[in-house]
Amino acid sequence: MLSEREIERYSRQLVLPEWSGAVQQRLKDATAIVIGAGALGSPAATYLACAGVGRIGIVDGDWVEISNLQRQPLHYTPDIDAQKSESAAQKLGVLNTEIMVEPYPVEVDPDNAAAIVAGADVVLDCTDSFAARYLINDACCAERIPLVEGGALGFGGIVFAIRPGASACYRCAFPTAPANAPICSDVGMLGAAAGVIGSLQALEALKLLAGVGRLPGDRILQFDGLTLEQTLVQTSRRRDCSACAGLAASQESRA
């Protein structure tokens, strides 16, 4: 049941034709895990918290540095040297007092990936390394947890929502990490551009949890902030994918 406070808090989405009290309750009962509390994780987690996702886990093993603040709006100047997952969780807990936010001050590694995503209704990959992406993808595929990938660099990025067993996974689309891939510290990044990508990740995650809109799958959105051009790139499942080939679409829990 939604409380009076919740009905008022969420009133502007409760009037959406696609929304309802039942949809809002689904969000309230849901768990989202946001991996990375940086340029993508800040906006993504903020919008999940605003919208009323009942339990949000924030995973990040890093500490806030002054050079983060230009693109990671959940961290403020007094947070320098604070643990990122705790800095983020503290802000989100104040933003929405109706939800539960849990910080996990760890980096994803092969030993903990499965435990981090366990029990999640959706996972948002807001990390900045290919190694982490493959780990998260494989863990989500193994547990059939919907995953929203995001990546940003410079003035743009990509968003790719994945329903393991029903649509292409990250490994299907990118079987191997690119050699000499540029990274943020070399190439730079504008916070507002990363904000677009993180916000789109939240949008896809909320649609997945709510069960509204077109189900994501097999499409990668590329966004170029310099031109505002957006391209949907079609992708498809690989029969020999080491992460998701064994998953039958019919077993998907929610279609």
């Binding site: 939604l2 009905i7 502007r12 409760l14 009037v15 309802s20 039942a22």
Partner: protein
């Protein structure tokens, strides 16, 4: 028929409350709303029509038949 007095409840909270109650009713059920004149009586019936319900307005009283 279920009645709901929404006088004194501003937009959009009046429609939010009506909509949450409508959600619990069966198709064909009627919900009668008492609304304030002005914006509420203009916008709530429109929102109900947009949601696909049958709507009858009598002064500041609105009867919504759930579709």
């Amino acid at each position: 028929m279920i009645a709901m007095d929404l006088r004194g409840v501003p937009c959009p909270m009046n429609w939010v409350r009506a909509r949450l109650l409508l959600e619990t009713l069966d198709a064909g059920a009627e919900l009668q709303l008492q609304l304030d004149p002005g914006e509420p009586i203009e916008s709530v019936p429109r929102s109900a029509v947009e949601d696909g319900h049958d709507v009858a307005v009598d002064g500041t009283c609105v009867t919504i038949t759930k579709r």
